[in-house]
Symmetry: C2
C-alpha cells in the first residue's frame, strides 16, 4: 500500500508539472491534473491540500536537485570547486526543453503569491550564503585576494548562474553553454584571484 501511495503521489507530480508547463499555473486545474494523472480527486487531496501544495512540492524537488549538485561539486580548492560546477550543466540543459516553463513559473508565481515567494527566496538567499562562504574559504586558502568582497562576489556568481541558466534553457542551441559558463566563471575567478 505504501508503495502504491508513493506511486500515486509521483503520478500527480508528473501530471502537474506537465499541466503547469502547457497551460500555466493559473489556468491549470486540479480536475485536469487528476485526469492526466489518472487519479481521483479524493486521491489528490489525500496527498496535497491544494494546487499550491503540488506546486511547492515541485519547487522543493527542483531545489533538492540543485543542493545535491552543489554538494557533489565540492573539490580540494575553491577555484576547482567553481570550475567543477560547470560540469553539472549538461544534465541541466538535457532536460531544458521540459523544465523551462516550470522554472519560469516558479518565479512568476513567486511574484504573485507570498507563500511561494517565501519558498523561493529562502533558498535563493541560502545559495547566496553558500557562495559567500565559498569566497571566504577561497580567501582563507589563499586562492582569492584578501580584499575581495564575499557578499558582492557571491551575488555575482548567483546572478551569473541564474542568467546563464535562463539563456541556456531559452536558447539551448544559441551557444555551447557549458563552455560559456566555464569561461564566465574563469573571468570572475581571474577578477578575484591574487
Amino acid at each position: 500500500m505504501q508503495h502504491r501511495s508513493e506511486e500515486t503521489r509521483a503520478h500527480i507530480l508528473d501530471a502537474a508539472l506537465r499541466q503547469f508547463a502547457i497551460a500555466g499555473y493559473n489556468s491549470a486545474s486540479v480536475d485536469e491534473i487528476c485526469a492526466v494523472a489518472g487519479v481521483s480527486k479524493g486521491a489528490f487531496y489525500h496527498h496535497f491540500h491544494s494546487k499550491q501544495a503540488v506546486f511547492l512540492a515541485l519547487l522543493e524537488g527542483w531545489l533538492t536537485m540543485i543542493d545535491l549538485g552543489l554538494e557533489a561539486a565540492r573539490q580540494e580548492t575553491v577555484p576547482a570547486t567553481l570550475m567543477h560546477m560547470t560540469g553539472l550543466l549538461p544534465a541541466v540543459f538535457a532536460t531544458a526543453e521540459d523544465s523551462l516553463p516550470m522554472f519560469l513559473e516558479f518565479w512568476l508565481q513567486a511574484s504573485r503569491d507570498e507563500t511561494i515567494w517565501q519558498a523561493l527566496i529562502a533558498p535563493y538567499q541560502r545559495y547566496q550564503q553558500y557562495f559567500a562562504e565559498l569566497v571566504e574559504r577561497g580567501k582563507a586558502e589563499g586562492s582569492f585576494r584578501a580584499d575581495a568582497d564575499a557578499q558582492a562576489s557571491a551575488q555575482a556568481f548567483v546572478a551569473l548562474a541564474v542568467g546563464l541558466l535562463l539563456q541556456g534553457v531559452l536558447d539551448p542551441k544559441g551557444a555551447d553553454w557549458e563552455k560559456t559558463a566555464g569561461q564566465g566563471i574563469k573571468i570572475l575567478l581571474k577578477g578575484l584571484e591574487k
Copy 2:
C-alpha cells in the same frame, strides 16, 4: 483624431500590461483588456490583430527602453561605459514591482510560442553582439587583455545583467542592487583588464 487614436492604443497597452500581470497571459482575455481599458472590441481590433499582437507591442516597448538606456550609457572608455550602466538600475528597480510579472511572462510565453520566442531571442542575440563589440573595443583601446574572449565575456555580461535584474525584481529589498551590480561588473572588469 490621430491624437485620440494614440490615446486609445496607450490605454489598451496599459490595460493589457495590468491584466497580463494579474491573471497571466493565458488567462487574460481580450474582453477583460477592453473592459479595463474602457474601449470597444472594435477599437481593440483596429489597433491590434490579437492578444499576441498586444503582447509583442509591450515586449517591443520594453526592449526599446533598454536600447535607449544602453545608448545613453556610452562613455569615453569601455570600463567607464560598463560602470555607467549600473546607473540605469535605480530606474529599472523603481518600477520593479509592476514590471516583474510581465518580464517573466515574456520569457514564459517565449518558451511556448515560436513567434514570441523569435521576438525575444533576436534582441537577446543583439545584446550579446553589443557586449561582444564593447569588449573588442576595450581590447582595441588597450583597456582589456588582448587574449580576452569577446563572445564569452559578452555572454558573461548579459548573464550577469539578466541574473541581477531577476534577483533585483524578485527581492528588491534583499540587497543594494545598484551597488551589487557595480561590484559584479568591477569583478568582471578586473578579470578582463590588462
